[in-house]
């Protein structure tokens, strides 16, 4: 693998994940998963569905759905398209695994580094999320995932436990903005449990004096 100089960075810019805790709510950055995008090829649906059952042990979920079994979870991202999630530790090359598993019935694209994953936990999840997403949260049950807009940024919100366990996938380049929006929403209604650690600032000037002619 890569030599010592190539240290991976977390999406929020740190060498370790960020975490913010509030009374009844926590936000945790995670890089523990591999992601690939999986799309069924034209006229290969029967093969694709058979492969899916073989590879995952379940049928691919429909719109808004999230299916999980053993190491894999998948959620619907569009007609004939899904995101596959698996632990990074044992699925570093998930793309190759999926290509081998699905053969010519699917197009597979690695998306592992395309997303910031935030795990949201606690009884106050809805209190915070209702300030961020236009989703009827009371209808979002365990085993569902939805396209949402958080601070004008297209994200996915998945529910892992009834009303108290969610994951949010945000585009990696917008990680700090989305994380900031989440923290602001949380801080407007909840009490922080510890002084939060802030990701680096993202201002227009990198520290030197403005340098305009």
């Amino acid at each position: 693998m890569s030599d010592d100089l190539l240290k991976p960075r977390f999406p929020l810019g740190g060498a370790s994940p960020f975490r913010s805790e509030y009374e009844g709510f926590s936000i945790s950055e995670s890089m523990a998963n591999s992601f690939v995008w999986l799309a069924c090829r034209l006229n290969r649906q029967a093969d694709f569905e058979r492969m899916a059952r073989e590879v995952f042990g379940f049928a691919m979920p429909g719109p808004g759905g999230l299916a999980r079994r053993s190491a894999y979870s998948t959620f619907w991202t569009g007609p004939g398209q899904w995101m596959v999630v698996a632990p990074f530790s044992c699925h570093r090359d998930l793309e190759t695994l999926m290509k081998e598993g699905f053969g010519p019935s699917a197009s597979v694209t690695d998306q592992t580094d395309a997303w910031l994953r935030l795990d949201l936990e606690g009884v106050a999840c809805h209190t915070v999320l209702e300030r961020l997403v236009a989703l009827p949260l009371h209808t979002v049950g365990e085993g569902s995932a939805h396209r949402v807009s958080v601070h004008h940024t297209g994200c996915f919100l998945g529910c892992l436990g009834m009303a108290d366990r969610y994951f949010l996938l945000a585009p990696r380049s917008s990680a700090r903005s989305v994380f900031h929006a989440l923290r602001q929403a949380a801080e407007s209604v909840l009490t922080p449990l510890a002084a939060p650690r802030h990701p680096p600032v993202s201002g227009l000037s990198g520290g030197g004096a403005p340098h305009r002619g």
Partner: protein
Amino acid sequence: MSAPNRLSHRLPGGLIDRKRTLSFRFDGREYHGHPGDTLASALLAGGRMLMGRSFKYHRPRGPLTAGSEEPNALVELGGGACREPNARATTTELFDGLEARSQNRWPSLSFDVLAVNDLLAPFLTAGFYYKTFMWPRSFWDKVYEPAIRRAAGLGRLSGAADPDVYDKGFLHCDLLVVGGGPAGLTAALAAARAGARVILAEEDFRFGGRLNCDAGLFLGADQQDWISACVEELSSLENVRLMPRTMVFGAFDHGIFGALENNPPQAASGPRQVLWRIYARRTVLAAGAVERPIAFADNDRPGIMLAGAVRAYANRWAVAVGRQVVVFTNNDDGYRTAADLMAKGVEVPAIVDTRSDAAVDVGVPVFAGAAVVGTSGRLRLSGVKLRLSSGEERSLKCDALALGGGWNPNLHLTCHQGHRPVWREDIAAFVPGKAGPPGLRAAGAACGAFSTANALEGGRDAANDALEDLGFRRQDVKLPEAEGRTPSIVAFWHVRSKGGRAWVDFQNDVTVKDVELAHRENFRSVEHLKRYTTLGMAPDQGKTANVIGLAVMAELSGRTIPETGTTTFRPPYAPVSVAAFAGRSTGEDFRPRRLTPSHDWAAEQGAHFVEAGLWLRAQWFPRPGESHWRQTVDREVLATRGSVGICDVSTLGKIDVQGTDAAAFLNRVYCNGFAKLPVGRVRYGLMLREDGMAMDDGTTARLAEDHFVTTTTTANAVAVFRHMEFCRQSLWPGLDVQLVSTTEAWAQFAVAGPNSRRVLQRVVDPEFDISNEAFPFMACGEITVCGGLRARLFRISFSGELAYEIAVPTRYGDGLIRRLMEAGRDFDITPYGTEALGVMRVEKGHAAGGELNGTVTARNLGMERMVSAKKDSIGAPLSRRESLSGEDVLKLVGFCPLDPAQPLVAGSHLLPEGAAAQASNDQGYLTSAVYSPTLATPIALGFLKRGDARLGEVVDVANPLMGTRVRARVVSPHFFDPEGGRLRV
């Protein structure tokens, strides 16, 4: 300054917590009140009636109402950056330490110099400004308007950034109940018991509506006990969200409502306000009604107040607004005010009833068929003059007048989508029409059901009907026995009298005379009336004024009120601060930012960043001693051309195109051919719009027979992806193609310059040969770097140098640039920003955003040969339109000033040498202009008529905005290494 607070106007009872006393200040003077008070009720309790000055004439004013419709008692709250202008004292919840000031007066509220305007009233009628300040024209902006703005107006903003926190959010429910009075409470109860998800939004900080303000509405049960029981039950249910202090301000499409929730004053935490977007399957509008005054001479003196408000102050806030209160009414409701006041021990010298058959035996003198024709008192009412039915005039001493002109249902939300209300003669008011926002139904006073019994039933029934629609079971909510009489009214709008001005719109100082003037001058449509007189404008939007104004206009024009019509109801129902609309989106968080993988590294280097769409990109990397950005950029360009430079290009859009028909798909999307692109090769592509104009350009790499990676410009990444998805899904669903964006997944760096290969060879794993022979210009491949890390390498060049773009998974982007900088140290590897990137691409004549401006064709760009005639592709047929290929067609060429000391400016127009700078001489324009450190001269790209045939010619580059004119020679757009030899070494 502190003064003893006598609480001289407090009555017994009321819904205030007398165990606690709150101190507050108004205009520097200390007052006291209790929890449950509003600022207005506490000031009235302290004997303070004068609370503001009117908009135009600076007339002294006291509160007219006890609610959000208040036109007079507008004050400034707080201080410093927190100052809030135009707050209604009538809805401002009192808290300890509240600071309020009157506004629109100088030097003080009781002595306002600008009250001189009132003496000039004969000249300041409607349309005064339009007629008077016409000449000289140039004076309007600099003299007239600033002077008028200083003299007239409401409160003033602090000008500082608002330090408070605002938030926004989204709520969903089966039933939204707007208003927490008797109708709203029974509606919410019915829906809540049925198990529906209910939101009950109440503008006030206390639920109950008029039940808090009127005595004796229930026949037996205690009104407050019933409210408490309702609120308690609703609070205990998980399917109910009670939202006091929440004003539903607008009804939008698809059952979406805007609501503004205020945090309680001095709350320990939470944002000051939250703007909610409520998605409701059904809505019950139970917003009650607003009382209206009667217009008569000098009806605006402090102490003249709506009858329902007088009653509310007495019953809810235990405040007598005066010691002697005359009632002037055209309906039964005025009698209720008199009865409640007398029950509290307040003297009511008389009831003046415009109806000739008015009841006379109510324990107080009643003047039937009479009217108030004038008032006296400067800062406070001291008496009224009556005209009796006999014609005799009589004066009465009093310090308050309760005005009851009838009630207008609060139907605004039913009209926000363009629906019109209908007139009901029996109650002399507009009520919601049958057509309205889908799923919304009014109940109680909001639909003209003015008795308490009707309100209770109406709320419950409206909710039950909505529930039934949604599949819930109807609920039989037991209602308390309540009065069921609808007050009788005989419409009476204004008192005709000689002299004196009769106010229609208190907030905008519009009088009956102004309406008459508008009529005389033929501004008779209600919309014209509104604009000409300003009736119904300003923060209160004429809630107490509009119907009277319509009635006066109807009378003058001989039409009925419904024939006269209403102006358009638009959100918001009451003012919403801009801060609430902004919510969390302020300052740097106004919009999301996208950061490149090397952002933190670039920041460490002191990079100066530039916004490119949502991206922040390093624009240049200044070094110590460089005092001007040009020095930095020149150095970066020369270093790259001289040795090696590195630039983060991760922002370019990257689209994974897969499928057995991927090549065929790209062949149709791009005007040039892609079907035969070999695996392991890259090709430049030009994408046209359907109309033949250039849409975007970029390179596409073929990684496998069925796998391509297409790049787009940074700015067009989303638009191109959307376009390609449209093509895939809608134009050619029969092609086996799958698309996904991978922009975020890869960190990509351009490594450019004669030493770029040497640097890369130090990071690319040795099993990959990237020599010129093995990895020639326009090659691409999947490789590993730094001991096994997967990567992609593309031999492409935007700079015109030997160059590569290397991509690694984004998490390693920061590590890779540090590694490359280390690897290139002995080559003096230089990071360069978007400015140097731009200079080098102009030197090479590459088109970019300036050139791809949406109006140019491949022919304009000199790329007509790229539009393949051997295949069909989007835009190709229309790119061959005759009109696009005339003799005078614009062609992309280069320009060099004859005098290198004279810079060229993008956007400048091209003129024949010596021709006048006018449109008829225009021959084209510059699209990109830079200083080329390589050529030591300013250079530019631009479109010139027949430019390719005019190389060597001299033209004038004119910039009329800056007043410059530079002579420049037309040259090839390829300023540097036109043969491209440097790319291929």
